[in-house]
């Protein structure tokens, strides 16, 4: 079972813990590991990373941070009578990497957590919300198609002079106005059909294709155990890393290695899962 085929609940447990941990820490080792894991998962699962764009973002944050924060001992140079320090620059780099890591996790979430999963999640929170959500999803392409049709027919009728910007704007406004009448009138008909089929009944149940399997239980338990270990590490002084006034990382002990190992396993779970799946697939083909 691929990572994206897990039950939505397992995915939510995973993403909430990963994103929360990535946002909480400023320890460069953990930040870099999280960034690396997010990048690998994106490359493997989403088939793309737009890494250039995000490197520019990291660069921009690293450069701007020393301009605003003048803490730190090691002065690199003075700019407009302001101290530009090495510590502030390092802090900028780490926070930039952390932000991009978080954005990557959100990208992966967007790729893995498809519309039907989101609908399942909303439906658990509030059934009516999920109905609105799924109907709006269907209406968006419909509305866009109708808008195009109305626009084309208005264009042919030549009701507006489209050579000027004002004429174009008026045309679009006119199309939009017609679109609203059409959409709402049609929607009311849909609503009445829904009503006659028992939408307003209290004991209505929601359709869901997702089944909670044995692997999901294993996955959630594994994630929760690793969450606990990682939280222990993050709250202990072992993790503390100071940027100001000078960069200090004193509390390194051999036990840190164990915690970091667990942290890596937790963050690499999508990659580990999918690679083992691919290998198993290959292996079973060659056997036949």
């Amino acid at each position: 079972m691929k990572f994206s085929e897990l039950h939505p609940l397992s995915l939510i447990v995973f993403f909430v813990s990963v994103i929360a941990f990535s946002m909480v820490t400023m320890n460069p080792i953990l930040v870099l590991l999280s960034f690396f894991a997010a990048l690998c998962s994106n490359l493997l699962i989403k088939n793309g990373s737009d890494i250039k764009l995000y490197l520019i973002l990291i660069l921009a944050i690293s450069i701007t941070n020393p301009l605003f924060s003048h803490n730190g001992e090691t002065v690199l140079f003075f700019l407009f009578d302001q101290r530009i320090t090495l510590e502030a620059f390092c802090y900028g780099v780490v926070s930039g990497v952390r932000l991009v890591g978080v954005i990557y996790w959100f990208r992966l979430f967007g790729a893995v957590f498809s519309q039907d999963k989101l609908n399942w999640f909303l439906g658990k929170m509030s059934p009516k919300l999920s109905v609105v959500f799924s109907m709006a999803l269907r209406f968006i392409p419909l509305v866009r198609k109708n808008a195009k049709d109305i626009y084309n027919s208005q264009l042919v009728m030549q009701t507006f002079d489209t050579s000027t910007l004002k004429g174009k704007f008026n045309l679009i406004i006119n199309v939009f106005s017609a679109l609203i009448s059409l959409s709402i009138e049609n929607a009311i008909e849909t609503a009445d059909t829904m009503r006659s089929r028992g939408f307003e009944n209290k004991n209505r149940s929601a359709f869901s294709l997702f089944r909670f399997k044995g692997k999901d239980i294993m996955f959630i338990i594994a994630v929760l155990i690793m969450d606990f270990v990682t939280a222990l590490y993050l709250f202990s002084p072992l993790e503390d890393f100071y940027y100001y006034p000078s960069i200090r990382f004193e509390n390194w002990e051999n036990s840190s290695l164990f915690f970091i190992f667990i942290y890596v396993i937790l963050f690499m779970l999508p990659v580990i899962n999918d690679i083992t799946e691919n290998l198993r697939w290959k292996y079973s083909i060659s056997k036949i």
């Binding site: 929360a20 009516k128 919300l129």
Partner: protein, 230 residues
């Protein structure tokens, strides 16, 4: 007054939850503003979703809200003449005005969620959901007494909505690049985004002036014809 009371519960709930998260952040003395602000934005949506679940009952109202969401998402694609020049905020405000606070919040927040499915999700989605939701909710609350019927107040409200949207998204930018909130940095971001903010204000006002009369008439007609959102 009875009508307003229905919504006071969710407002109080949001105030208490936000207060608790601020106290928690002070008590924990950590610098994780990013996580806490994200949580706060998410939490502040929850009471309104519950209120929507309880207040909106009929299928006609549910479907009409879905259509308004689809229209404001599609509005982002239909108006492509000038970038950032979008009718989304104006539509959210008009929905809130005519269909009430619950519909306003729902339209605002789900428009953010759904249109980001095309434009890319990120931590900003949660903030946009909260801000657009509040803009719609506020329009609904103000119009319970018919305050937004006054053209001047309406224009003022849409201008303020543009300013608030821009300012809150700047807070997000400040916190996201650095876990600590630095006032100078925030002010510089505000300064940077001033042209975009101006564009928001102008587009909100223009779309409000152009769209409010025809759309308002239509929504009012639908309301009386089908007896929804009374």
């Amino acid at each position: 007054m009875v009508v307003i009371k229905k919504y006071i519960k969710s407002l109080i709930a949001v105030a208490v939850l936000l207060g608790l998260s601020i106290i928690a952040s002070i008590y924990l003395q950590n610098e994780n503003y990013m996580l806490i602000s994200l949580l706060a934005a998410f939490i502040s949506c929850v009471p309104f979703f519950i209120s929507f679940e309880n207040n909106v009952q009929s299928s006609r109202e549910t479907v009409t809200i879905a259509v308004m969401i689809a229209l404001s998402v599609a509005g982002r694609f239909i108006f492509t003449l000038v970038p950032h020049f979008k009718p989304v905020t104006a539509l959210v405000i008009i929905t809130g005005m005519y269909f009430g606070p619950d519909a306003g919040f729902m339209t605002g927040s789900l428009t953010a969620l759904l249109s980001n499915m095309q434009h890319g999700q990120g931590p900003w989605t949660v903030f946009q959901m909260a801000v657009w939701g509040f803009i719609g909710f506020g329009a609904g609350i103000l119009n319970l007494k018919g305050l937004l019927k006054n053209r001047f107040v309406l224009i003022l409200y849409s201008a303020v909505a543009g300013v608030v949207y821009s300012l809150i998204m700047d807070i997000y930018t400040t916190i996201s690049t650095e876990s600590v909130f630095i006032v100078e940095k925030y002010l510089s971001y505000v300064l940077f985004s001033l042209p975009v903010m101006l564009e928001y204000i102008i587009s909100n006002i223009v779309f409000m002036l152009v769209l409010e009369k025809p759309i308002g008439k239509k929504l009012l007609r639908i309301k009386t014809k089908y007896g929804i959102f009374q």
